[in-house]
Symmetry: C2
Subunit: 363 residues, 2 copies
């Protein structure tokens, strides 16, 4: 009411009256239809700008039969870092969707049933589609949305060759390239601090790590590959354990699935009076979150880097295109993280020549 009164909304009819045209023509002119003459289009656009015309979304949505609203579910009670990455994606998606005249609304998933929140959201409002993030393997949310025929895009990928739109980095390669870099530097005992086992990205990184180690003929000691909450504390704890050599020779290199883990690993290494990269090399995967910069580590951290926010525009566009009827198979993106070598990686130390004795990889 306030707003309406204040901005005195100009309508298509107003422009039509101003120019002696019908609302239909004005609509077509503004929406770039081909059957309107060039001079008419110019006049309309000038008048629209002059009168400060903004299309009424509610009217557009009423006639289009779409709500213009897409949903995203927050997994509540989740850990610190997950919230952080969620926040990053959320904000990025909001902005990207706004550019497509869509709004993003949230729902909270607080229960056991991972699709309950989706169901509730569909009941409560008419949503045009969903964004699914941080998928687990064979994700029940994805299965639900697929079965129901509801448009959705996934940030990530829960199976090898999906039939739905997705955007993800090649997580196998993320791990593989890290291992290859360190191996090229002569490292033989490379530990991998992975993310929580349930996430599909962690599963793929594990595969990338194990495969590449195997391909290089490097044994993986028991306990050298672990799954961890993405927290500084977890990184610290894990690194302390590994550095103590309780599980054979200590690693000469650490690969961390997140910056927070790397932060903890660095602290543990410093506490042991070891040097980076002299005694131990460290690298991490960097989502490029604003509050934990790889550059501000000392030494600056070698990373595989893939800004989370890079995914937002493609995902938003894909979702809107999908809702518009595009072929899901044309809305699939697999990108590669960028390998950025900085100062936290160096040649393996003298005592690092011997690989671990062979033990079967866990799992």
């Amino acid at each position: 009411m306030e707003l309406i009164a204040r901005f005195l909304m100009t309508t298509l009819k107003d422009i039509g009256i101003e120019l002696g045209l019908s609302p239909a023509t004005v609509s077509r002119a503004l929406n770039g239809f081909p059957e309107v003459s060039a001079k008419t289009r110019d006049r309309v656009q000038e008048a629209a700008a002059r009168l400060g015309y903004r299309a009424n979304r509610s009217a557009q949505r009423l006639v289009s039969g779409r709500s213009g609203i897409v949903g995203m579910i927050v997994k509540t009670g989740s850990d610190l870092r997950a919230d952080q990455t969620f926040m990053e994606v959320l904000v990025g998606m909001s902005a990207a969707l706004a550019a497509r005249d869509a709004d993003l609304v949230l729902a909270v998933d607080q229960g056991r049933d991972p699709v309950a929140a989706y169901r509730r959201m569909l009941e409560r409002d008419m949503l045009d589609g969903f964004i699914v993030n941080a998928p687990v393997m064979d994700d029940p949310r994805i299965n639900f949305l697929r079965d129901e025929g509801i448009p959705f895009v996934v940030h990530g990928r829960d199976r090898p060759s999906p039939d739905y739109p997705f955007y993800t980095i090649d997580n196998f390669a993320v791990a593989a390239e890290s291992v290859q870099l360190l191996a090229a530097l002569g490292h033989k005992r490379i530990a991998y601090l992975n993310g929580p086992e349930l996430y599909s990205h962690a599963v793929r990184r594990r595969a990338g790590y194990l495969d590449t180690m195997a391909k290089l003929g490097l044994p993986v000691a028991e306990g050298a590959l672990t799954h961890n909450e993405p927290s500084e504390a977890a990184g610290y704890r894990q690194a302390v354990t590994l550095l103590a050599g309780q599980r054979g020779e200590r690693p000469t290199a650490f690969i961390c699935s997140s910056m927070l883990l790397a932060d903890g690993v660095m602290r543990a290494i410093k506490d042991q009076k070891l040097s980076v990269p002299g005694d131990v090399s460290v690298m991490a995967h960097d989502d490029d979150l604003p509050f934990l910069r790889a550059m501000s580590f000392t030494p600056a951290l070698t990373v595989t880097r893939a800004p989370l926010r890079d995914a937002c525009s493609p995902l938003a566009n894909d979702l809107m295109d999908l809702i518009g009827g595009a072929d899901p198979f044309h809305l699939q993106t697999l990108t590669n993280a960028e390998l950025i070598v900085r100062d936290s990686t160096g040649p393996a130390p003298q005592n690092g020549e011997t690989p671990w004795p062979w033990t079967p990889p866990n799992r």
Copy 2:
């Protein structure tokens, strides 16, 4: 398109046909207007339930002239904890607004000008109102929205007697009560680790601390009151400095403006081989965020507690009422935090009898 087809939206007309009534009557029956007979209302409600009727939001919004959408601005590049509290409020507000048939959309404020984001959002879409959180003193966003006559509610308060709707805890009392509790336990050297100076809640807590200390005749040593980013690291750093006694006798008690600060303080105390509460008492203000529970500190933390999410429903309702034309002065809530005494506070130690020598409070 998909969704529409799938759920085969039933309309008011459908119900009307089913029952031999006009859409007008059906609308009234469903919206609880008085001039519809009891039996008709029952029949309509039964049919609506049976046919799974859900009002089309776009149509409602078109006729009401409101968008049903309210905005909230994310301050990006902000620190870890701020994002966490923002997330909590965001999710809570989303849910609470959904209950009032409104949606919450986000915009990112990444620039210098704190009102640019608001202006941009108003241009881009017709919003019914705004939620402003974490106000600074004499907040420019609030002044902007006030001047423009745009409905908004504030989580917090940027001046003593606002003429806008707000929901806040009494932050003066939060600090005052903490001081009083510790003073009652015999503490005389009480340090206060406050939040960033720019936030109005920090300003009020500072006043509460300083006033109460003065009232009790307790001098405040220089450096005993500090403003900090809400992070574990900041708490640790500050506590180490204070415990080293570089600024006179070390404090026998710490009050922390956030749980993260308290976390760092506890670590610093343990690193110094001091005990809580034997040597030092610690308390904090607890927003009741899901990932940092006061109960899981060892010892369990004494706090002033005020769950952030308690603010969400009132704020959502106030905003929708305001948009509906309610009097802003009836939409103001000032609540009190709950004082929960646990195991991190105890009697002042022997060496704690003497207050600090008087120094003028900083600022």
